[in-house]
Amino acid sequence: MAKKSLFDMTPVTGYEKKLEDFFPMERRCSNCLGCKFVPFEKIKSNRFGRNCPSVWYYNFNLYSARGRFQLGQNIIEDGYVGWEGQALDAIFNCQACGACDVACKVTRFNLEPLAHNIALKERAVEKGKAPVELKAMAAQLEKQKSMLPDAKKADRAKWAAGLKLKDLSSAKETAEYAFFPGCQYAYDPDLAKKAKTYVKVLLKGGVDLGYLGKGDMCCGGRAKQTGFRKEFEAEAKANAEIWKKAGIKKIVTPCSDCYHAIKRQYALLGIDVEVVHAVELIADLVKQGKLKFKKRVDLSVTYHDPCHLGRLGEPFIPWNGTEKKILNQVHTWQPARPRYAGTDGIYDAPREILEAIPGVRLIEMERVRENSWCCGAGGGCSVFNPEYSDAIASERVTEAQTTGAEAIVTACPWCEINLSGVESENGTFMDVVDIVELVAKAL
């Protein structure tokens, strides 16, 4: 029988770049429901069995990864649906947290739900269909090099006032690591204090550290998550240029979003720079005995894995293969394609730090590590849909409360902000603590 294909496809080489590259995946998703639940082997209760905030909140199938695969078929391939109404709502209310992606990859070897979700956003942005709040955010990025609404480029380095940090911007001084605070730590007054604490802790541990001062910019990661691909790429290239001029080879950041952007998204653009999250360095310093905890911190805590440090924080692996069918119809990648199943993210370092602090008792939530529930700040949703974002945060605080812990500890400013001051379903609150605060208390 002569072979007919549903589409006259040119085989994609390497990672998919545009929405059309995902056609085969849209057709090959089998509606198994895996993207709506924690991987079934890891579910511990009916109450906390769900993984995707979007379909958990909106309930219509459209808001799941499967729904978005089918939307892709309807909107691009078949033209049954336009770039309007609930199509846009579903596209932009994806947190880009990647929970669907790792659940899918437990059983499937040829689907990339997260990359597809972002490709839908990118096409919507190209068509000028992004929410106005996100458009404003992107404009702010271009103008002030930050996506935070009130941020001013001139104030970028204020957070570091009083710190004796090497200024690497002119390449006159050098350091092993450049400290890259990210926008939240640079501009939010409370978080700025914590950024300073990170620096002090790293210096105490003997890390050779500098920073770029006013030369620092946004990493652009949020632009990527929200579909503003061009803005992200411009930002990434600008950063890469500055780092190159300053001779920076290694970056340390306390922000999980920045970490992911540089580690995975910059790498995809061919930008080669080593990045570590501050918790990785601190955990190493503790192991090496360069940081010693001398004081007790009597606190029971539960650790919230930030999506971008955990399941999305796996190392980037270059790949330039193609699809090849064997045994008539068995679909393979030649050579083997990286799977990004979420399991190689940064999970142990923060836990090792917590376990090393005298008096701290770590009690795990049900959804942890690669199956962690998103804080609700992902995908720019907290900017244009705060009610939805708060509901997701409330779900996490509720889960944290069931552990009996006194506080939630995390290692991402976005999670910290979004989980703070949010009521659980019982109408009560929990303290949310930056991991560096506990470290500083114990030193």
Binding site: K3, S5, Q86, N328, V330
Partner: protein
């Protein structure tokens, strides 16, 4: 078809504006692309019709109001929970789709060993909640991501655990059921506060109407709650898991043993099924990994238990002499899991198991005795969380040469069926060439009688039209062969009389033309009377086999 504004506003009044939508982005999302689902009548590249609206009810009362509204406006409706099977989707242009996702609660009555489940409580969460109380539930072979309620009320529901826990019809106790006219029927006693429980009271059995043997695929109204029988579980409250995806392994589950049995022939296979049933030693029994195909099954397990391996490693693995030898030994095989309720119990079961193997001349696969592989099998079969492995090879599959029947009838034909499929794999490119025999199935229900459920997996690419068409042709050929052998309708064609290839319902006249040729047409005439009594406005699709009685067909009444 246009929907009246009044009808839509009334739906909003019932469920709230955020829980109903007629936006095309939503309604198009509730069209089943049947090649992407195991529909048991295709596969086809077509889609089921677009619903007028999609509604998300949050309670039985809301369901009742929606159905009464549909009767008032003469709009068809269909409810579904997990939307895997095409039978959950509407079949006309004048219909709304109910998505039951908001109703997801599970209640465990530990003392009476009962779970009461809402529609979106899936097997995975029901079993997790039951295990916390030392109990477990039958999960149909379709996998734990499917609705326990839908499987129990609407379909056959065979699975690995059926030998110990029964199939769906053997587990359904009470039900809360909104009839197609909006009336609510509650059978048995629901909830944990009832001291007495029974599935149904004296008199005619509503359960037989409600589900019968194969289930009515949701055509007699909307089931909003069911209670099912739970069964003992001797293991921990939660199965500890080690490893990284996809290589997850049950960790330290010492009260459970998993084996793969290698048989000399199909006679031994069938005889062992009888003996396993009689000895009552199995907790789970399933021919599972053969679903990938006789030539590749061991290689597939190697891939799933080694996270760094992928399908591109298949050719090399298939050439590995050790793996080839394992496949040869496991030509005719089955996976058996035994659970010990005490050390003595497990010892007894082990001895009885060994004796059965001795009697039929079978042996344990050495490959599956490796600790990691055994632990992988334990987790796989106990949780049954890898439904998507049905699809993972090529993206789509449909079962053919499938039946629920007697193992002594099926077993002698297995090699002939395998040869038929192997020939097709060699002469056509649309179906994955995996070695002919790709049979998967369960061993028995608790009712006994030699009943098994099995199907050959036909793996094809849902992105490739030629592959879809080729698979359909192969299933058609198998169905004809089965008819010739007197085996009845192939599982892959069970729904061929329920929905047209274009995804639409059949008319009553079309059903009449099919069912008047049934060997026992009175059955379909009887169901016609039930349908007329329960569903006077014919609002729930064409999955229920109804034949207009002669006197009505001839215009006598």
């Amino acid at each position: 078809m246009a929907m009246s504004k009044d009808f839509y506003r009334a739906l909003e009044d019932i469920v709230g504006a955020r829980n109903v939508s007629c936006d095309p982005a939503v309604t198009e999302n509730y069209r089943c692309i049947t090649a992407q689902s195991s529909a048991h009548y295709g596969p086809y590249a077509t889609r089921t019709p677009k619903p007028l609206a999609v509604v998300l009810p949050g309670s039985t009362e809301e369901v009742q109001q929606i159905i009464k509204l549909c009767n008032k406006y003469k709009v068809e409706f269909k409810a579904a929970s997990t939307f895997w099977a095409a039978m959950g989707y509407i079949g006309s242009d004048n219909a709304i789709q109910l998505d039951m996702i908001r109703m997801d609660q599970v209640e465990i009555d530990e003392k009476n060993m009962i779970a009461t489940c809402e529609p979106f409580a899936i097997g995975g969460t029901v079993s997790v909640e039951a295990m916390k109380r030392g109990l477990n539930c039958n999960i149909a072979g379709v996998g734990c991501s499917s609705s326990t309620l839908a499987g129990s009320s609407g379909w056959v529901g065979f699975g690995p655990s059926s030998i110990f826990m029964g199939i769906a019809s053997e587990n359904l106790l009470g039900a809360e059921w909104v009839l197609p006219d909006g009336e609510i029927i509650r059978t048995g006693t629901l909830g944990s506060d009832g001291e007495w429980f029974c599935g149904e009271g004296p008199g005619p059995s509503p359960r037989a109407i409600f589900r019968g043997w194969t289930g009515t695929a949701g055509t007699l109204g909307v089931c909003t709650k069911i209670s099912i029988r739970l069964h003992p579980w001797p293991g921990p409250k939660w199965i500890p898991v080690r490893g990284t995806a996809p290589a997850y392994f049950a960790d330290g589950l010492d009260c459970v043993r998993a084996y793969t049995v290698c048989y000399p022939d199909w006679d031994a296979y069938a005889e062992s099924f009888r003996l396993f049933y009689e000895a009552d030693i199995c907790y789970l029994a399933h021919r599972q990994f053969n679903m990938f195909g006789r030539d590749i099954k061991t290689a597939m397990v190697e891939i799933f238990t080694h996270p760094e391996k992928q399908f591109c490693d298949l050719p090399a693995l298939m050439e590995d002499p050790y793996i080839k030898e394992q496949n040869e030994q496991m030509k005719v095989d089955v996976q058996i899991v035994m659970a010990g309720f005490s050390d003595r119990d497990l010892d007894y079961k082990e001895k009885a198991f060994d004796e059965i193997l001795r009697q039929v001349g079978a042996h344990k696969s050495e490959y599956y005795l490796q600790q990691d592989i055994e632990d992988f099998v334990k987790l796989y079969l106990l949780r049954l969380g890898r439904k998507n492995y049905n699809y993972t090879l090529c993206s789509s599959y449909e079962g053919n040469f499938g039946l629920s029947g007697n193992v002594f009838v099926a077993a002698p034909l297995m090699e002939e069926a395998a040869a038929l499929k192997r020939k097709w794999e060699q002469t056509h490119t649309g179906v994955a060439a995996v070695g002919g025999d790709s049979d998967m199935g369960s061993v028995s229900g608790i009712g006994g009688g030699g009943t098994t459920g099995w199907e050959f997996f036909v793996h094809f690419d849902g992105f490739d039209l030629a592959s879809i068409e080729d698979s359909n042709a192969h299933i058609e050929e198998t169905a004809a062969w089965m008819k010739e052998k007197g085996l009845g309708t192939d599982f892959g064609r069970w729904n061929a009389d329920a929905r047209k290839p274009d995804g639409y319902n059949y008319s009553q006249a079309e059903h009449d033309s099919f069912y008047e040729k049934l060997p026992q047409p009175a059955m379909a005439e009887y169901q016609w009377k039930i349908r007329e009594a329960f569903n006077p406005n014919h609002l729930t699709g064409s999955y229920y086999k109804t034949l207009t009685p002669k006197e009505f067909r001839k215009g006598k009444k």
